[in-house]
């Protein structure tokens, strides 16, 4: 069985980004970049399936600039067998475009399962996995906190409002990860060294012949409104008094 794991290069979750003063975009020039945390969880899950003997091959794929090689090397250090970079100067494709590109990759690679993040922490879209599944006509197990693969089926327990739901999907299928699916491993130096020698294939996105246009675009970005300064209260009594008489919320 083969698993495809799409991984996105994003601004590290510890970095607090700000809009550029002219509102044309977000200032990420010197920001630390990392693999999207949900994609690390997807990589970890793919590796556990491989280590459990369910999966023979794990392929990581990233779409973006040449810098995404770093992200793919991390995926290889997790243990992916090979990696594919679909290179483009555009690094902010809409999810619908990413889903077209990934569908083309799926057509070539024919994986049995795609495991990917539920959400990229930069655009916060939470769309690509569902779009890919819809486009391929496959089942989708989104926001997974548990995944079991057996008898040609993926059993996915999903985190939903109010609890969890478990679905059984016929394979091939797309699974998107939630935070509690697993705890990604710490990448050890020998694995990072080994990853440097693993195959990383680079191709231009344009070669795939998919439509790269989207009719949705971000026209301006701004900082959210600042909240006014708060006050320090000295005691629980003062807090209650202020909540009652000043803020009038209790």
């Amino acid at each position: 069985m083969k698993v495809l794991v799409p991984v996105k290069r994003v601004v590290d979750y510890n970095v607090r980004v700000r809009p550029r003063p002219d509102g044309t975009g977000v200032d990420t020039a010197h920001a630390k970049m990392s693999m999207n945390p949900f994609d690390e969880i997807a990589m970890e899950e793919a590796m556990r399936l491989k280590e459990g003997g369910v999966v023979d091959e794990v392929v990581a794929v990233s779409i973006g600039s040449g810098d995404c090689q770093d992200t793919l090397r991390s995926a290889l250090a997790f243990g992916a067998d090979r990696a594919l970079l679909l290179e483009s100067d555009t690094t902010d494709f809409e999810p619908v475009v990413i889903s077209r590109i990934l569908a083309a990759v799926v057509a070539e690679e024919a994986p049995d399962l795609v495991i990917m993040g539920k959400q990229a922490i930069d655009d916060d879209c939470n769309q690509t996995a569902q779009m890919l599944a819809g486009r391929l006509g496959w089942g989708q197990g989104t926001f997974a906190c548990r995944l079991e693969v057996q008898d040609g089926e993926a059993r996915v327990t999903r985190e939903v409002d109010g609890g969890t739901r478990t679905v059984a999907l016929s394979l091939p299928a797309v699974v998107s990860t939630d935070l509690r699916l697993n705890e990604p491993r710490y990448l050890k130096l020998p694995n990072i060294m080994k990853a440097k020698k693993k195959p990383l294939d680079r191709r231009a996105v344009a070669e795939l012949g998919v439509d790269l246009t989207a009719r949705t675009r971000v026209v301006a970005v701004t900082a959210p409104p600042e909240r006014g300064p708060g006050v320090r209260v000295a005691s629980v009594e003062e807090l209650l008094d202020r909540l009652k008489n000043e803020a009038q919320v209790i």
Binding site: Y13, V17, R18, P19, V26, P95, V96, S99, K118, Q119, I121, D123, D124, N126, Q127, Q130, M131, A133, G134, G139, Q140, T142, F143, R158, E159, V160, D161, G162, G163, T164, R165, T166, V167, A168, S170, A173, D178, R180, A214, R215, T216, R217, V218, V219, V221, T222, A223, P224, R227, G230, V231, R232, V233, V236, L239, L240, L243, A247, V249, I250
Partner: protein, 316 residues
């Protein structure tokens, strides 16, 4: 322009998030229709028809929709999509699961988690955990949108829409419901509660959370949590407030033992009044809270509970 809102319900009761999605839909100009997919879901359909601003309710009542499976639901939505200029759902776990699949079926982009509608094609949405607000223009012929429930008021009753039954679609045969485990709570719903009391790692142990629950009870509040508290097993996962959990915007948000990581802040910063209780005065949330109390929770929580009870007795 006619807009279709995809309803969320448990077959009997229309979800409040759908009332809020209807409010957003009415801001798009044009008639608003609501699609109810369910089994024995006539009560939910009636509630949708009674919402002010709704012109028509389409009901598809079939065993296929006994559980909200995106594969079947997307098909049903796509079968009707051509009659509409916008398809709208709440950015709830159901809406997030369903709508991108619909968008892919139409090969259009989706605008997720809209917090304001500036024009029928121009929206505001937060990105980067709410550190940045993006203005997005969507020029698709059919717009697929999810709206952040806390950013829109619930639609009031007072409508009298016609209810039309429509036939069920085919089962795509891709997925099967196995089971569901829903946490039952007597407390107000986290997404719409007037007051939310949240605990973090600092609340420490389950004893601490029992105390926090007493504070919540005294305020008729919903209980929330940081991710660290959920990870530690103190609270169920659907209580997680934040960038990747629930977004809340109550009148009063009390954060106890929560440091205030940006991912948590993203989920509660639109609360009207924010209280932080932490023994570390340097914690990020203590810098931005409206009221910050430097205290150990082991003392502060019992005092808060007792003080609230005393206030309630005085008021009664």
């Amino acid at each position: 322009m006619t807009v279709l809102v995809i309803a969320e319900h448990d077959h009997h009761t229309l979800a409040e998030v759908t009332r809020r999605a209807v409010t957003a839909a009415t801001a798009l100009d044009g008639d608003v229709h609501v699609l109810v997919l369910g089994q024995d879901c006539a009560p939910a359909a009636q509630q949708a028809a009674a919402l002010s601003g709704v012109a028509k309710v389409l009901v598809c009542d079939a065993p296929l929709y006994a559980h909200p499976l995106a594969e079947s639901m997307a098909r049903a939505v796509l079968a009707r999509a051509g009659e509409y200029t916008a398809l709208v759902a709440a950015a709830s776990s159901q809406g997030k699961d369903l709508m991108p699949r619909v968008a892919a079926g139409l090969d259009v982009s989706q605008v997720s988690d809209i917090t304001a509608i500036e024009a029928p094609d121009t929206f505001q949405r937060p990105i980067y955990a709410g550190n940045v607000l993006a203005r997005v223009v969507c020029e698709e012929a059919i717009k697929v949108l999810t709206v952040r429930p806390t950013a829109f008021a619930p639609a009031a009753d007072g409508g009298q829409a016609e209810v039309v039954a429509i036939p069920a679609g085919e089962d795509p045969g891709l997925s099967r419901h196995v089971d569901a485990t829903m946490t039952r709570s007597e407390r107000p719903d986290l997404g719409s509660a007037r007051v939310v009391v949240s605990g973090g790692r600092g609340v420490g142990d389950e004893g601490g959370f029992a105390l926090l629950a007493e504070v919540a009870d005294a305020l008729h509040a919903a209980l929330g949590a940081s991710r660290a508290a959920v990870d530690a097993g103190y609270m169920p996962n659907d209580c997680q407030v934040g960038q990747t959990g629930k977004v809340v915007a109550p009148e009063l948000y009390i954060a106890a033992g929560i440091s205030g990581a940006i991912q948590h802040w993203a989920g509660m910063k639109d609360s009207r009044v924010i209280v932080a209780i932490n023994r570390d005065e340097e914690a990020p949330l203590m810098q931005v809270a409206d009221y910050a109390l430097v205290a150990d929770l082991n003392q502060a929580l019992p005092a808060l509970r007792d003080g609230l009870k005393a206030l309630a007795e005085k008021g009664a």
